[in-house]
């Protein structure tokens, strides 16, 4: 167990393992996302209340899921880095921030585009939307802090602390549609009860969510690999790799 943990912290080991995983994950996630997109856009039936604008759900919900999952990834990596000073955790902390920021941005922008035909407004200062905007600022804060020190390790420490403090926002996002009166519809998929969506509409959504999770793994690996090459460029194995 400890040996595995030790290996996990080694950039070289991560680089090798990700080399063999990336093609599989990449192909699988691309296949899922393409299938779900075609299904969701052209084959799923129309929502009788919202019309065709509901088709935005197939990218809005997965990117919102990943905005939150990305925050866990970043915060956990931050904690591991602060406690054990693990190299790979520092790298994941740093690369997870911009990826998460893009995911949150996508959730916000597709939400705004969906809001216009459905609520008649691009933006409302509603609890769910506002807490997602706070999440976006938290991500940007981590990106900014990580890059604002001359010494990279100080930047990573500050970024890790901000990431951990920011986790208070996560339960607020989840509960926002229950705690406050909200225009935002409650969760479509729940673990505890049947989903409030027809199976014909649900399938593409589930495929897209799985596809997005796999894509997230691909993105973390791609960004981490670029970061590894940059940091380890003086080591022999990178010099060999460059030849």
């Amino acid at each position: 167990m400890w040996q595995f943990f030790h290996k996990l912290g080694s950039p070289r080991w991560f680089y090798q393992i990700s080399s063999s995983l990336l093609p599989w994950l990449g192909v699988l996630s691309a296949a899922l996302i393409i299938t779900a997109t075609v299904w969701g856009l052209a084959f799923a039936p129309m929502d009788f209340k919202q019309g065709n604008s509901f088709r935005i759900i197939y990218i809005h919900v997965p990117s919102a899921f990943l905005a939150l999952a990305g925050y866990y990834t970043m915060a956990i990596a931050g904690a591991v880095y602060l406690i054990w000073r693990m190299k790979m955790a520092e790298i994941v902390l740093r690369v997870a921030a911009p990826i998460g920021a893009v995911m949150t941005f996508l959730a916000l922008i597709t939400g705004a585009i969906w809001g216009k035909p459905t609520w008649g407004a691009w933006w409302v200062w509603d609890a769910r939307i506002t807490s997602m905007l706070v999440l976006f600022f938290l991500y940007m804060g981590v990106v900014a802090l990580a890059g604002s020190y001359q010494r990279a390790d100080l930047g990573s420490k500050a970024a890790a602390i901000l990431a951990l403090v920011g986790t208070v926002n996560i339960p607020i996002i989840y509960k926002s549609v229950d705690w406050w009166y909200s225009l935002h519809q409650p969760a479509t998929i729940k673990f505890t009860s049947k989903p409030s969506i027809h199976p014909d509409m649900l399938w593409p959504l589930l495929l897209m969510i799985v596809g997005f999770y796999l894509l997230y793994a691909v993105l973390i690996m791609l960004h981490a690999r670029a970061e590894i090459v940059q940091r380890e460029q003086r080591t022999r194995w990178i010099q060999e790799l460059a030849k």
């Binding site: 084959f43 935005i56 990218i59 585009i113 216009k116 993105l219 791609l222 090459v229 940059q230 010099q239």
Partner: protein, 65 residues
């Protein structure tokens, strides 16, 4: 297909602009997230290779003189 024609699919009874623009923005952003680290890594590896060649030449040069 749910729609009667390709035209219907594009127009989506007036909601086409909203639906297609959200998908367009999402796919562009995801593509950028994939391409950026790949290009960054490629550039780095190229620079590292050139540097090591340069250093090798220097070493050879010094050993001759």
């Amino acid at each position: 297909m749910y729609f009667d024609s390709i035209g219907d699919l594009i127009h989506m009874a007036g909601h086409g602009v909203f639906v297609w623009s959200s998908y367009g923005i999402t796919f562009l952003a995801l593509l950028a997230l994939i391409i950026y680290p790949l290009r960054k890594k490629q550039k780095l590896l190229k620079a590292i290779k050139q540097r090591s060649l340069f250093e090798q030449e220097n070493v050879q040069h010094e050993s001759k003189t």
